[in-house]
């Protein structure tokens, strides 16, 4: 293992058995998370994101495969691993009759170094505008999330494992959370973040892994995903769009999804603009809009097709992945 790899899984699998019925919830997950990166773990509900996290934390045991965190085996060295990580579960449950201060104090006591952690917790609480004096049962879901973040971060762990971290947080707090994650990364620490809030992943993650039906479909740099070369071009003309243009546009390599609406022509385009511009140059162009795809659109395209580009091993760019011109894996 490279010392730059904070999480390494090798063919990690989990099958749930109920009587004679077996359900494969995680299928041969092989994944490397590097030191100092923010890794977004994406997938729809039931894809296996939380199962992966629970396996990594040794809450459930793998049916097959293995994994290490910070170079330690997740099963044999779980206590040592837990000392060095911070975890925020998707649905945070705590002792309802205790105050946040009591919960923080207890968890700090289990980890050791109470004073330092209480000091850090107070700093985090100030930043998140969180009142630590109330009982857990009196907090809103957003405030419980803040408490969860404080508990996960107050010991400055080397690795943060966060399951849907911003659920319930208002936009301002989400922004503060993003800043905090970027600071964590700047300090050389690592974040493994499961989410289906794509804008969040796009904003802070360095790489994303896309999970579907328990199988990892792709791992890619966010920068690569957000620099895909397909975009939607929408042109509005003073006069009606000549039908004669359409066969010519269809003939352009990389043009697809061509739609017209009297004065408007919409084309999804890969590659250069020039061939398209030459065809439409006869018309009087009133307005031109170019729409870059969001990560969400890319994500939906992945699931829309039911097939994705095999990108982790080859590191091929995803541009035009919805076309048949790239290697497709089912």
């Amino acid at each position: 293992m490279s010392n730059q790899q904070v999480i390494q899984t090798q063919a990690l699998s989990k099958v749930y058995k109920s009587g004679k019925k077996e359900t494969l919830v995680l299928d041969n997950l092989t994944l490397d998370i590097h030191k100092g990166e923010i890794f977004g773990y994406l997938g729809p509900n039931g894809a296996g994101k939380t199962t992966t996290i629970r396996l990594l934390l040794d809450l459930i045991r793998p049916t097959g495969g293995s994994a290490t965190i910070l170079g330690k085996d997740i099963r044999a060295d779980s206590v040592e691993i837990h000392r060095r990580i911070g975890f925020l579960p998707g649905e945070l449950a705590l002792w309802k009759n205790r105050t946040a201060t009591q919960v923080i104090n207890y968890i700090a006591s289990v980890r050791g170094g109470v004073q330092q952690q209480m000091k850090e917790a107070t700093t985090l609480a100030d930043r998140l505008k969180f009142d630590m004096t109330k009982k857990v049962r009196d907090y809103s879901s957003g405030n419980k999330r803040k408490l969860g973040l404080i508990l996960a971060m107050m010991h400055n762990p080397e690795l943060l494992i966060l399951d849907e971290p911003t659920g319930g947080l208002d936009p301002l707090m989400q922004q503060i959370f993003h800043e905090m994650m970027l600071e964590v990364r700047a300090q050389g620490r690592t974040v493994f973040l499961s989410s289906h809030v794509l804008s969040e992943v796009q904003a802070i993650c360095d790489r994303v892994g896309i999970l579907r039906d328990g199988a990892l479909k792709a791992v890619e740099d966010v920068a690569t995903l957000t620099h895909v070369k397909f975009r939607t071009v929408e042109m509005t003309f003073r006069d009606a769009v000549p039908q004669a243009w359409l066969p010519q546009i269809e003939a352009i390599e990389g043009a697809s999804d061509i739609e017209t609406d009297t004065h408007t022509l919409t084309v999804t385009l890969m590659g250069d603009f020039d061939p398209l511009m030459r065809i439409v140059s006869e018309g009087y162009l009133k307005n031109l809009r170019v729409h870059e795809p969001t990560l969400e659109e890319i994500f939906l395209a992945y699931y829309g097709n039911g097939a994705v580009v095999q990108s982790q091993s080859s590191q091929k760019p995803l541009s035009g992945f919805h076309r048949a011109s790239h290697k497709i894996v089912k």
Binding site: R61, E91, L92
Partner: protein, 270 residues
């Protein structure tokens, strides 16, 4: 930090000690305040002699004559409540070791901390065992203060009542350990609760039935497997502690906790 979960559990359980132990102490004092005449125990004994043996046994009484003395009356009236209360508390506490937190999802947070699973079971078990001892001792404190509520001509041997209070502990610890065991093998709280309740009630019924059948019957043989057979306080007040029973129950409790620790260590957290 070693012991932090033990301390934390004790810190947040003082209300339980107060409510259960204090409640039992008040109940005992009330029972003792009834005994304003030495004839009261004898009248109760005469009345109970009319009851069938199974019914007497259901009240934890093998012989109605045993309650004819003030010591016997107090131990019957007061310690029977203690036995039942501690049996219920044993199930409640047993579920609190792992099942409640697992059912609520808190175990996910707890086990993501640098604490091994076995330590959660062992430290919480130790804390609740201490709490059960405290509840039993509070009941004895109630008996002690109860002696001030009875007339001077009635003498109560507090040392016997103390032994009776002590005898509550091994049996309740066994039921407590059995509940921990069920919670450690079943990840669903409702199944653990049902199993523990079935054990307490089933064992209770088995004990009653064993007393009314002949000694060579299978029912009598089955009665040996009832925790309640070794849990009764009546004979302790009359004959002193049965150390074989106590050691047997404590060993069973330790064994169940050890198996629970291994089972909980191995299985998935719900």
């Amino acid at each position: 930090m070693v012991g932090i979960t033990f301390i934390e559990q004790l810190k947040h359980s003082w209300r339980q000690i107060l409510y259960w132990g204090g409640g039992l102490a008040l109940l005992v004092m009330f029972v003792m305040s009834i005994m304003q005449d030495v004839a009261v125990p004898q009248q109760y004994a005469e009345m109970l002699e009319q009851f069938p043996p199974a019914m007497l046994n259901a009240y934890g009484l093998s012989d109605a004559a045993a309650i004819a003395t003030p010591d016997g009356f107090v131990s019957f009236a007061a310690l029977t409540y203690g036995t039942i209360a501690l049996a219920i508390f044993a199930v409640v506490a047993g579920l609190s070791v792992t099942a409640n937190d697992e059912d609520a999802g808190i175990m996910n947070v707890l086990l993501a901390l640098p604490i091994p699973r076995w330590r959660i079971i062992v430290e919480r078990t130790a804390a609740y065992a201490l709490i059960m001892v405290a509840i039993a001792m509070l009941e004895f404190v109630g008996m002690f203060f109860g002696t001030f509520l009875i007339p001077d001509d009635i003498t109560i041997d507090l040392s016997k009542l103390f032994l009776g209070s002590l005898n509550l502990i091994p049996g309740s610890l066994t039921l407590f350990a059995a509940t921990i065991f069920f919670a450690s093998i079943f990840s669903r709280k409702i199944i653990a609760t049902g199993s523990a309740t079935a054990l307490v009630l089933g064992s209770y019924i088995l004990n009653i039935l064993a007393e009314v059948v002949t000694e060579d019957s299978f029912g009598y043989f089955l009665g040996r497997f009832s925790v309640w057979k070794y849990f009764g306080t009546q004979s302790v007040v009359l004959n002193g502690l049965n150390y074989t029973n106590i050691i047997g129950l404590l060993l069973l409790a330790i064994g169940l906790v050890a198996i629970s620790t291994i089972a909980f260590e191995r299985r998935d957290i719900a």
